[in-house]
Each structure stands twice: as C-alpha cells, then as structure tokens.
C-alpha cells in the first residue's frame, strides 16, 4: 500500500468537503474492494475518506412499495433484514450470497454499486428491479447509472446516499459462482414488475451488467421458464476467461434465467 492521509468525517457534507480539498482523494466504505486494491498497489490515492463515521448513510426503510437501503448498510444487514426479506426476498437472498460472511460484515451496498464490478451481484438487482441511486446531488435511474466496466455515472466528489428498490410481483436471482473467486461467473436477476418483466445479467458482459430485452419481452408475454428456454444472448457480446468461454457464459445465462424464473414462482 502506498501512504495516504486518513479522514473520518461524520457527515456527507464534511466528507465531500474533505475530498474536494484532497489532491486525489477517495471514499472508503466497507473497504472490501478498495483495501485489497490498495494492498496490491493498483491505486495511489492521496487521501482516504472513511464513510464509516457517517451515521446518516446506514439503515433500511420500507415504505409502501419501496425498499430504501442506506449506502453504508452492510450486505450482512440486508441479508438478515426481516423487512427486506418480506418486501423483496430475492434482494435479501442476493445480499446473503455476496462473498463470505466476513466480507458481508463489512462490504456495503454503496461501495458495491459505486464500484460496479462487472461480476458483482447488486448491479443486477438494481437493473432488474429498476432501482434509483440517490446521491448527495441527485437521483439516478439504475439504467443510466452503470456505464461500463467499473464505470458509473457518479462524479468524483459525489456520494451515494442510498439505493431505492421498488418491490416486484415476483423476483429471483440465480448466481453461478466463479469457482475460484466466487464472484458471479454469470448472475441473472429476473423480476416481474408492474411495468413488465425485467432480466439483468451480471458477470458475463464485456461492458458489465446488462439487460436482456428479448428475454424481457418473452417473459412479459409469458412468465415461465419455458419462455426463455430457447433464447440465447449473443456470445459475441460476452467476455471469456480461463473459467468460462463466451459460449459457455451465453449458455449459462439461459440456464440461470430459466432457473430464476422457476424460483420466482
């Protein structure tokens, strides 16, 4: 790790103020992505601004048809939240499947969404459920938020405050683990919403998380595993590595989509 200065502000406003003053500052939330990155010397921030002291960023509220999760809420907290489990069981299950228990005890939804790892789980839920990402400045629709590999619409000095998920009639997430890292090799989130069916895929796209319009169309017309059984994402748009060829990923997307629909009921 390179040397840096450390700050622990207690409000969003202070955090942003510190960041603006720093040469090349960065926020740290759970640190489950950032600290390993720093350890490998893949980044060299001048200042680390710890959001761990900002109480206003923690918490889960369910009101009407919306589940709002504060950015600093850990995966463990979402996984064990009875409210989330009741409102959007697929979301609690997804959180419970991120990493391992120790990662879930520290990693946060804000960090996960801000990081937009192409193999992360939350971004799939955000797209499929039509989440809104609330920052200190604005509200951004998930569809506009995730812009590429590790890229989002977030400005450098912008803090994610919370993520709001509309509930769905039915939803499920099926994750096929990368055998080594246990991130998603392919993860498919399906949701039956008032506005039609949505299908989002993580782990597989060359540009990160993406939606599958053909599957959405088919499922909107007929919510059943059979409806997607014959649909295949073009392997040309998918990534390939030692764990999975693009063809294999394309195949898994269909299998996971079928299983997700079946699991959603």
């Amino acid at each position: 790790m390179y040397a840096f200065d450390y700050h622990k502000p207690s409000s969003v406003a202070d955090a942003i103020a510190v960041l603006k003053k720093a040469d090349d500052g960065t926020f740290v939330a759970g640190g489950m992505t950032l600290i390993p990155t720093l350890k490998q010397r893949l980044a060299q921030p001048s200042d680390l601004i710890d959001l761990g002291g900002v109480k206003e960023l923690v918490g889960i509220t369910v009101s009407g048809n919306t589940v709002t999760i504060g950015a600093m809420t850990t995966h463990a907290a979402v996984a064990k939240s009875a409210e989330v489990a009741k409102a959007i069981p697929a979301l609690a299950a997804l959180a419970g499947g991120i990493g391992d228990p120790q990662v879930r005890n520290r990693g946060t939804i804000g960090g996960s969404v801000a990081n937009n790892d192409p193999a992360a789980d939350y971004p799939a839920a955000c797209l499929a459920l039509g989440a809104t990402i609330k920052t200190d400045k604005r509200e951004v629709k998930a569809d506009d938020f995730f812009t590429g590999l590790f890229e989002t619409d977030l400005a450098e000095d912008e803090v994610i405050v919370s993520v709001s998920f509309p509930t769905a009639d039915k939803a499920a997430y099926m994750k096929f683990d990368n055998p080594a890292s246990r991130y998603a090799l392919v993860g498919v989130f399906v949701a039956k919403t008032a506005g039609g069916a949505k299908v989002a895929v993580t782990g597989a796209g060359q540009n990160g998380v993406f939606r599958v319009p053909e599957m959405e169309k088919a499922l909107s017309a007929n919510w059943s595993a059979d409806a997607v059984a014959g649909l295949k994402v073009n392997a040309g748009t998918l990534n390939a590595d030692i764990h999975a060829s693009a063809d294999y990923r394309a195949h898994l997307i269909t299998v996971m989509a079928k299983r997700a629909v079946a699991a959603a009921g």
Partner: protein, 153 residues
C-alpha cells in the same frame, strides 16, 4: 502519524501507526499478537479473522485506523485463562486442525457462526466457511468440531 486506540481482548491499547497500517499488522507487529495470521493478499483465506464489536471480520482488509474505538477480539483473547473456549476445545477434541495456520481464523469465524446461526446444518456450516481456507484437514473434522461446539457453546 495517526494514533489509534481500541480495546483488544479486553485491554485498552493505543499506538502510533501509519494510516496505511492494516489491522492485522497492528495486531501482529505493534501488539505482538501473532496468533492472527496472513495467508493471502486477496482477502479470501480467512487466516486473519478476528471479531470487531462481536462480528467476524478480516483484519487483513481493514486499516488499523478503521478499528478506532472498537472492541477487537483475537484468538489470544478467546480462552478464559487456561480454560479453552468451547470452540477451541471442540477443535482439539475432533482434530479440527493440523498445521494450525488457518486455525485462529477458522475458530474465530466458527464462533461467529454458532452465535449467529446456532442450529446451522452441515451444509450451512460448509457455506459459512467460504471465507476460510484450510489446506490440511479437508474440512471434515472442522465441520465435526463446529457441530460439537453447537452443543457446548
């Protein structure tokens, strides 16, 4: 250099550290609590697991300054004097360790599991251990030990 203060195994400690010091370095190098180990650099092996305010966490993936003001328990703080914690005793009884390198993290993780899911099935125990890699035991006896500790903890 920032000063950090925390409670480790019931004792208040503080030290001056570079901000980039990891919690595990602080424990091993400043406090000489070498029971907490480092087995990887990708936050996956769990040799470094300690409890922060009662929850298991990877001390290799946290800065010492992030633990400011917390209660940290390491493997050295688990036993009650000379009397092993029921999880430690179960690991001994069921031969849940061989070389002992993964053991501190394994035990700390297992204690957290039994606290949070006292009735975890074998399958759930194995899933919980996703973040703890052991190269020696094949996990068989670790699982047995945890099942035993479910009765004695």
């Amino acid at each position: 250099m920032p000063t950090v203060t925390m409670t480790v195994n019931g004792k208040k400690v503080s030290g001056e550290v570079e901000a980039r010091t990891l919690l595990v370095q602080f424990l091993r190098e400043n406090l000489h609590l070498t029971g907490t180990h480092v087995g990887c650099d990708t936050s996956q092996c769990g040799a470094c697991v300690v409890h922060i305010n009662g929850d298991s966490a990877k001390s290799c993936s946290m800065l010492a300054v992030q633990a400011e003001g917390t209660e940290v328990t390491t493997i050295e703080g688990l036993a009650n004097g000379d009397e092993l914690h029921p999880m430690q005793a179960a690991f001994k009884e069921h031969h849940g360790l061989q070389c002992g390198f993964c053991t501190p993290g394994m035990v700390m993780s297992a204690v957290d599991l039994v606290k949070k899911k006292p009735k975890a099935s074998e399958h759930e125990i194995r899933e919980w251990l996703e973040g703890n890699i052991c190269r020696c035991t094949g996990y068989h006896n670790i699982v047995k030990a945890i099942q035993h500790a479910q009765q004695t903890m």
